[in-house]
């Protein structure tokens, strides 16, 4: 607990380390999975999944939190399942966001193409 208090504020990587210290490396695979899930959720946030797909992103966050809680209380099977789900949920939220942004950019350029074409036609007619 002392350790946990010491590292209370710094970022999540440290939180994952604390978790590791707390549970005494009981389950290496679980901690690797928790770190991977945290990374996936972070990446989803960076691309803007929280704004574009709040439901998907929220589900991933929620599962990650529950996974961490379960890991703390030594329910390691539950923690593992939740963490795996959080990772694939976050990856999906991120992919959906990336796809949506690419679609928006494509639609935007198609729209401004049309404007440009109209303007050129008009300008040519005006000569």
């Amino acid at each position: 607990m002392m350790l946990a208090n010491l590292f209370h504020h710094p970022p999540r990587v440290l939180a994952a380390c604390c978790l590791l210290a707390l549970s005494g490396c009981a389950n290496e695979a679980l901690h690797t999975q928790l770190a991977a899930s945290q990374e996936a959720v972070d990446q989803a946030k960076i691309v803007g999944a929280a704004e574009h797909y709040p439901a998907n992103y929220g589900e991933a966050m929620d599962k990650l939190n529950r996974a961490n809680t379960a890991a703390h209380s030594r329910h390691e099977d539950d923690a593992m399942r939740l963490a795996q789900q959080a990772e694939v949920d976050a990856n999906l939220a991120r992919a959906k966001t990336d796809a949506a942004q690419a679609r928006i950019a494509a639609a935007e350029i198609a729209r401004s193409n049309q404007l440009l074409r109209d303007t050129m036609m008009r300008t040519n007619q005006n000569q």
């Binding site: 789900q85 999906l92 690419a102 494509a106 350029i109 401004s112 193409n113 000569q127």
Partner: protein, 307 residues
């Protein structure tokens, strides 16, 4: 969902202990497993049928297939419902992710195609046959470029230093009513290419918005994003990255139908009458170019407001 899984785990475990792992699953367990496996299988099949997915998201698709295989195995070998449901869920989400990666690729291809179309259109416009620049007031250059650099990291907020440049640009456009503007956004190489594509577009949009506030018509402005793909300085230094976080502005100057200019006339009649007949909607000669532009600007704003 989770609670169902938990309670069935208990039942399963108890059953396994009692009968040495050979208990037949209940009908409801069988149905739950079948449904989960079948749903995941359908998503995997759908993703596999998409050429964009098989070509560009094969890794994710393979992972989905693997998870689906493990779900089937967990059910067929052990009748372990918890593990089966878990793998089926993971397979489902991974297949959906693969589909989205395919969608993203398809949209990026559409974007590249549209950008190429734009480039061709601009080139065609700039190289079109022009009448001889006989007058003294017609703008001579076909295209001028300006650049607004030093956007803040990760943001599309205009740098403070850009205000006088924007005003200058808006003035130049007002003085050349027929000219077109192409605004191109750029980023440094920090962050994913896809994120940067969006950010660069937001930067270009910020410049467009600033020009609109200065009274330039929407219909005269086209924006596009180059993402991080077109740096002018090294991304290895802080100063270089700052220079790359920029917006380039190109003006394709048309032969301005400005009052007093005779360069646009092909018949030798007075400028006023030529402009009035060619535009068809001008109320007064010489200003007709401007009035048709503003009319078009209103049309152009409609799709923008929808977004």
């Amino acid at each position: 969902m989770k609670y169902i899984i938990r309670s069935t785990t208990g039942v399963l475990l108890a059953g396994m202990i009692a009968a040495g792992c050979s208990t037949a699953p209940s009908a409801s367990e069988q149905e739950a497993a079948n449904t989960a496996i079948s749903n995941a299988g359908q998503t995997v099949d759908r993703a596999s049928a998409d050429p964009h997915v098989t070509q560009y998201a094969s890794t994710e698709l393979e992972r989905a297939s693997d998870s689906l295989g493990q779900a089937k195995k967990a059910w067929n070998d052990k009748h372990d419902l918890t593990t089966t449901m878990q793998y089926a869920y993971v397979a489902q989400q991974r297949a959906a992710t693969a589909e989205e990666l395919g969608n993203q690729r398809a949209a990026e291809e559409a974007l590249t195609a549209a950008a190429a179309k734009r480039d061709r259109a601009v080139a065609e416009y700039e190289s079109r046959p022009r009448s001889a620049p006989g007058g003294s007031s017609g703008p001579a250059q076909a295209s001028t470029a300006g650049s607004l650099a030093g956007f803040p990291f990760g943001k599309a907020k205009l740098p403070r230093s850009s205000a006088p440049r924007i005003a200058e640009l808006a003035n130049a456009l007002k003085n050349n009513p027929g000219s077109l503007v192409v605004i191109e956004g750029h980023t440094d190489n920090v962050g994913s290419p896809n994120y940067n594509q969006g950010l660069a577009m937001q930067r270009a949009e910020a410049v467009r918005a600033a020009l609109l506030r200065q009274g330039v018509d929407t219909g005269r402005i086209a924006v596009r994003s180059h993402g991080e793909g077109n740096p002018v300085a090294s991304n290895d230094t802080k100063a270089g990255r700052s220079e790359n976080r920029r917006v380039d502005v190109f003006i394709a100057a048309a032969e301005a139908p400005a009052a007093g200019s005779s360069t646009t006339s092909s018949t030798g009649s007075s400028t006023g009458s030529t402009s009035a007949t060619s535009s068809g909607s001008g109320s007064q000669g010489g200003q007709s170019g401007q009035s048709s532009q503003s009319g078009q600007g209103n049309q152009g704003q409609q799709p923008q407001q929808q977004q």
